[in-house]
């Protein structure tokens, strides 16, 4: 552990938009948690100083297993931490249902944060009382795959693993004898192993939708490996960080220009790769047209055993037990394609995050996330709407279909549904006059 310069930064630098490097003051925490232990320090400080009532975190059981727990014990928070790429869980479902009195902080991968925001839109979470400490994420791995990789590619006994990390496109396992074993993720993925399929084409790597966006990308110089890059995204995030500083749990330093550039570059590279993977995965489906495409979906769903796990685990579904997809479906039906899935395809077309939970728990190995994304992509493109990235109303629930000009017909026009109908009801759009002028008279 190198000597650290005494931070020049005071709480004053912490404001929305600030990009900083932070670390835990406690040496043990720095060692235990990944990259400086800042996230653990933030969570512990929030709990200790009463900024939140509870923390939702992962209780580690082994290198491949951790259980989400809601705790008010600072000790338990300090026990959590570590990278845990083999624990693909979405925390949003573990937040207490409904709008309660409890203030809760949680570490959130981009898909966790997106899920929490989507749940908030459906009144299942109070966003005002939820503190999202975002974590950069390059993807996670199903533990079954991890074990398989260890046995067949790394040729290691899963019981001998003491830790893992992803650095520069390589998945590194540390064994109990102190050795490092690195293999590039590309190589693993060519063998059908590696990250979960949905992570390979995920388009949000930095959680800019969370209150704080933390990660080890852009941690340069003396801090490399010892600090966390943190971007303050909201006032709530600033509060979290200030609180940890005041409690003496963490310290921060403004990030270097170089670090900021490195972080952006890594993000760009990752997103480009994701886009490439997306093309590879989806173009064969897109190439299918008409009856062939219908057959693809029928075939993909033919093994469904109606267990309902995909819905139970879906972080954006807040319908509860009696919902349209289940209430109108009967096992007595022998339809050509499942009504349950058709309804879910529609319901998720403006809200599927591609978090992969459904696919993880499907006992019939249906590539559900891929299927949901087939229906979500056109909606996202037509309405320029990314679920979970902002408080914007989902287009299906909007009274009118809106695109950037704020006019319902624009969205339809774009999607080729209406020819040009914007002029039909000028008085209805009157309130948005100013906005519309900016759009070059499209309406």
């Amino acid at each position: 552990m190198p000597e650290r310069p005494e931070p020049k930064a005071k709480a004053g630098v912490i404001k929305v938009g600030a990009k900083l490097i932070g670390w835990a003051t406690d040496a043990k925490l720095r060692e235990k948690g990944a990259s400086g232990g800042l996230v653990t320090a933030l969570l512990a400080a929030a709990l200790k100083k009463g900024l939140v009532d509870k923390v939702l975190t992962l209780k580690k059981i082994s290198e491949f297993e951790a259980v989400p727990v809601l705790t008010s014990e600072v000790e338990e928070v300090l026990q959590s931490g570590g990278s845990m790429h083999s624990v693909p869980v979405n925390l949003a479902r573990y937040l207490p249902e409904g709008i309660g009195e409890q203030r809760i902080a949680l570490p959130a991968k981009p898909c966790d944060a997106r899920a929490v925001i989507e749940r908030a839109k459906r009144n299942a979470v109070d966003l005002e009382k939820t503190f999202l400490i975002g974590l950069n994420c390059g993807g996670s791995i199903h533990p079954e795959t991890t074990r398989k990789m260890l046995k067949t590619v790394y040729r290691l006994d899963p019981e001998e693993i003491s830790g893992e990390e992803i650095v520069k496109g390589k998945l590194i396992f540390f064994t109990k004898d102190g050795k490092e074993h690195a293999i590039s993720i590309d190589e693993l993925e060519e063998k059908g192993l590696g990250r979960r399929e949905n992570c390979r084409y995920c388009s949000v790597k930095i959680p800019i939708n969370a209150d704080l966006a933390c990660g080890n990308w852009g941690v340069t110089g003396a801090f490399a490996g010892q600090g966390t890059f943190v971007e303050v995204r909201t006032e709530k995030g600033a509060k979290l960080l200030r609180n940890a500083l005041e409690a003496g749990f963490a310290k921060v330093e403004p990030a270097e220009e170089k670090g900021i550039r490195v972080r952006e570059k890594i993000n760009r590279i990752m997103l480009k790769l994701s886009e490439k993977n997306r093309q590879e995965i989806f173009s064969p489906i897109e190439a299918k047209q008409g009856p062939e495409r219908l057959k693809y979906f029928q075939k993909a769903l033919e093994n469904c055993i109606h267990c309902g796990a995909c819905k139970a685990v879906c972080p954006v579904c807040t319908c509860g037990e009696d919902s349209k997809c289940t209430s109108y479906t009967s096992r007595e039906d022998s339809y050509k394609i499942s009504l349950f899935h058709l309804v879910r395809f529609l319901h998720l077309s403006d809200s599927c995050l591609g978090c992969g939970q459904c696919e993880d728990v499907c006992p019939a190995e249906i590539p559900l996330t891929r299927l949901y994304q087939c229906f979500a992509t056109p909606v996202r493109e037509a309405f320029d709407y990314m679920p979970g990235m902002s408080a914007q109303t989902p287009p299906y629930f909007a009274l009118k279909l809106e695109k950037e000009c704020g006019c319902q017909h624009h969205g339809l026009e774009k999607a080729g549904l209406e020819e040009s109908s914007c002029a039909k009801e000028p008085e209805r759009e009157g309130k948005r006059e100013g906005q519309r002028q900016g759009q070059g008279g499209c309406c």
Partner: protein, 150 residues
């Protein structure tokens, strides 16, 4: 839809079966108008009257297809004329989503249609029915029709 009709009597062949949702205030009255005006119509429609076109949920549409409908027609009042202020605008949102879904699913676009028909447009009603029937006749039976249903 009776699965026992798989083998129709000799001479009977497939004819389009179209489920048509009509709103109580405009398009259903339009259907009446078409009858009173004695406009020739194809017998392919199975009309379901709803209070407002926005009552039509995607579940109804999917169910119609899965039970053997060759097409689904949703009809309502012209935009701005809704009896419930903006029900038909909500229909438009839902329709848009269903249309995108069915397209992605690989079902022909013509199998789901939306039309605004006012109470006075009997003739339009008849022509919508005839045109839709002709289109579907050309497309053939729906690929989602269950086994044993004609």
């Amino acid at each position: 839809m009776d699965p026992s009709n798989k083998n129709p009597a000799p001479g009977l062949s497939w004819e389009p079966k179209i489920v048509m949702f009509c709103c109580n205030w405009c398009s259903y009255a339009g259907a009446d108008g078409a009858g009173i005006g004695r406009f020739q119509q194809s017998p392919s429609m199975r009309i379901i009257r709803v209070m407002c076109s926005s009552r039509v949920d995607p579940v109804h549409v999917f169910n119609a297809f899965l039970e053997g409908a060759d097409a689904v027609l949703i009809t309502g009042c012209h935009l701005g004329d809704c009896h419930y202020i903006n029900g038909n605008e909500k229909t438009l949102v839902k329709f848009k989503f269903m249309q995108m879904l069915l397209k992605e699913l690989g079902l022909e676009e013509e199998r789901l249609q939306l039309n605004w028909i006012s109470a006075s447009e009997g003739e339009k009603f008849a022509s919508v029915v005839n045109e839709a029937t002709e289109k579907i006749r050309k497309l053939g039976p729906s690929p989602l029709k269950p086994e044993g249903v004609i």
